[in-house]
Symmetry: C2
Subunit: 500 residues, 2 copies
């Protein structure tokens, strides 16, 4: 059967032809990473009176391809959360300012406040943990295993090329409730292990430590009680700074005796496996600390549970891990990618997940100070996006920003109603279908669009097809064509898509 | 084989027993709709000095069951967006204040501003349309079909029982680009039709009108040009207020001549189908307006395309539809649920989706005023959630907040490591598995937990099972049990779950 479609197709010059008049090219590749605010300063201030088109400092837009990458990462994380039977909650993007006050120590200066427009004093959330504790206390919840994926806000110095923004996603998983020691804690370590394994971003280590071990250590070394948190906060910088700098902060800024600092220095450089835990249990100094011994016993139990959960090989006991936040009370952990490919332009990507036990936070919100013990973790998802995207690019996979399965094309003029009818028919069957927004688009442009967007099938019509009540179904990669009756179109398309 | 599991099970007293010591009951049913801030005033202000545990005015938390409902609604909407080949984008939650200035007319006072903490002047986004236009202009995009699902912020008077909040979701779908008349516009109408049909929330109507018809009408009736937008904004209130009140606003507040108002009144009460369009084309007054005639021609074409797309039966041409926002320039539409069950406690739910053509907005951001024509729509998703939830409750379906497939239970003490090993094994195979966080949970409590949470399978172990290297797989609803070797566990579980 010689149809207009065939005639038109015979004119088809090959891919190399660039089409410019279709006005329906996908924008994904163009937008991708095209953000004028990157690394941008406060240009709005520089030229008063002139309107500057940008996003706020430290923020950016995400284009179609980037969003497709994020969806992939989110899907993996969600699936692991669901595997653990976690429920989802959502809290407002801002909280009463009082809710955030006194929770973040030195970092409180980074909180975004809302303008007082009459009413309550509000701040944008700084993390998802404090809103979670507020939620647990407010609703008098005794136990819950929840996840929460949302953006948080910090007026920090942005380093956008390293994936550090003022607005960024956190993926949190927390277990609240009075349970037996280390079982929920081990589940958190297992969950980090599962997510990083499934994302397949190269090798990683899960560092663990315990606030009671650190506090016990500070005690036996002679740190005054009121300096425990500031000294802990100094130790926390060991992953970015050499010991000499940390020691300087302890001695010069925080007024610690040099000998005490040196003593701490000997311990915080230790890292190892179970044998280190056993060694420290018998350490002459730590033997005298109940706190340290309790923490070390927890570590032993945690290691055992991790063994049964099959995730102990990645776990390293690291005495130098301290975690910045004040509210941790027990086990703390942090996952770092160790593979060479994860070195960004500006150095290693560093920590991609972290967390720990915070048994006192919920009590801070309860009128009677009744608390609910909690343990949880947070994925630094922006870094995971960056690495996942690098990996995709390295594989030179072309990521699709859409999922379209069929493009409806016309070989001649005056077919717009026929195209709409076919779209309606295919949509009715749940088939993802697009067509041109032009009344009379050129056939070459239509076919090129399908090819550029990796749409697997084209449904082609011309006057003779319409008259005969048939359509042509064309496979884009093979250019193989079948003519089918319109009533068989859905079945044929599903067959070809393998979704029958 | 007589095992400890069997012994323990023989003691199993029926469902009616309430268990209290397990400490792992799901919190979903408890939290559900338990929000102390509902309808709450600014209680934080009433008692200065005293810390009040609440969410900010006009906002709320969403608990596990509510989130599960939202996921269902979002999934339907996402699937329709993907069916149309839309890409996803994301923009920051705040914009430079200048970006929002002069876009919302009278409603600008409802914008949340951020405190000036040194740096840029920022405001929380008020909708997703203006950020989209800013994105299109900033990235010099000539065409894109995108969706964006995110929360927006309005310092409005909250009416939380009616689903009106200060922080709420919008689901936006927009088509930007220079295309042939009414093809993208018809796709938007079709998409509203598809989403509302699939959500199955009862009957609905899609009202359509055209800003050019309204402007043409105002012109021929004698409305002065500078009063076009204020009078349009008055007409917009017709869905909530009777004509008499709207007329009063026109005459008393906005200084329109009484006769002019009465003349407008005759037209804006008209609604109908194609025959009304034809009638108005021949109307003595509207014949004299080029604008009105152009708008009416668009309406005819839109109706024809809707016919081909199979969605014209729900479309009603309503001369009283005006839409509040200033930026519309062409077709406008609004979907309302009409079924009786959708009357909330405080009256009908009203509009659940709306949108229109806004050809000038992108140009407002372009330094050379180069514009990109746009048409789009926004689902008022909070209302859809409310109605969907009511429907679910009416069906007395118990919604699950989790997806757990297997609960691992122990019939005797000292089984925690064995349970963890089985969890690890099942997770490895992608099976959603939970267990108790207690060392030695009671068997009754474990089985009750599985039943309460609608977990279909329980994997049971006791000492004899561990010795023999087997486990029991119990189907929770039938209480049917099978003993299988541990190496066959994954296969058996998959078989029973029907996911082999």
């Amino acid at each position: 059967m010689e149809s207009q479609v065939d005639e038109e197709l015979s004119k088809l010059v090959h891919k190399s032809i660039r089409m410019c008049d279709e006005g329906q090219k996908p924008e994904a590749s163009k937008n991708h990473n095209n953000n004028t605010s990157r690394g941008g300063g406060e240009r709005g201030k520089d030229k008063p009176g002139k309107f500057v088109l940008k996003t706020p400092k430290g923020t950016r837009d995400y284009g179609p391809v980037e969003m497709a990458v994020r969806r992939q990462v989110f899907d993996v994380i969600h699936s692991v959360f669901h595997m653990h039977g976690a429920v989802e909650i959502e809290t407002p993007v801002f909280e009463l300012k009082d809710v955030l006050t006194g929770k973040y120590g030195e970092d409180s200066k980074l909180i975004y406040d809302l303008e007082d427009q009459g009413g309550e004093k509000l701040s944008l959330r700084y993390d998802l943990t404090v809103p979670f504790a507020r939620y647990v206390a407010m609703n008098k919840i005794t136990n819950i295993k929840r996840y929460h994926v949302a953006r948080v806000y910090r007026r920090d110095n942005p380093a956008m090329t390293r994936g550090r923004y003022r607005e960024f996603y956190q993926c949190d998983f927390d277990i609240a409730g009075q349970f037996d020691a280390m079982i929920p804690d081990a589940e958190c370590v297992q969950l980090v292990h599962q997510v990083l394994s499934r994302l397949d971003l190269g090798d990683f280590t899960i560092k663990i430590n315990h606030r009671k071990i650190l506090d016990g250590l500070f005690g036996v070394c002679g740190v005054p009680l009121e300096k425990f948190r500031p000294i802990c906060s100094a130790v926390d910088k060991l992953d970015k700074s050499p010991w000499e700098e940390v020691r300087k902060e302890m001695v010069d800024e925080k007024g610690l005796d040099e000998e005490v600092a040196d003593l701490i220095g000997e311990y915080v450089k230790l890292s190892g496996k179970e044998e280190l835990i056993e060694k420290l249990k018998n350490d002459e100094r730590l033997k005298n600390s109940k706190d340290a011994q309790a923490g070390l016993s927890d570590m032993t139990l945690l290691y055992q549970y991790c063994q049964s959960l099959g995730c102990e090989s990645k776990v390293v006991f690291d005495m130098g891990l301290a975690r910045g936040l004040d509210y941790y009370t027990g086990v703390i952990y942090e996952a770092v990618l160790t593979a060479g490919q994860n070195q960004g332009k500006d150095g290693p990507v560093g920590s991609v997940a972290g967390g720990g036990r915070y048994d006192g936070l919920v009590g801070m919100f309860d009128p009677k100070k009744k608390t609910v013990p909690c343990v949880g973790l947070s994925f630094g998802i922006e870094r995971l996006f960056t690495i996942h995207e690098q990996k995709q690019r390295a594989l030179s996979e072309k990521l699709r920003a859409t999922q379209t399965e069929v493009f409806v094309a016309a070989a001649c003029k005056g077919m717009v109603h026929e195209r709409l009818k076919i779209i309606s028919l295919l949509h009715e069957a749940g088939i993802k279908t697009e067509s041109s927004y032009k009344n009379n688009p050129k056939i070459l442009n239509q076919l090129q669009y399908a090819e550029d967007n990796q749409i697997p099938l084209v449904v082609l019509i011309g006057e003779s097809e319409v008259e005969a009540g048939v359509v042509k179904v064309r496979e884009v990669t093979t250019r193989d064509e079948t003519t089918v009756k319109r009533e068989d179109l859905v079945t044929t398309v599903k067959q070809k898509l393998g979704t029958k």
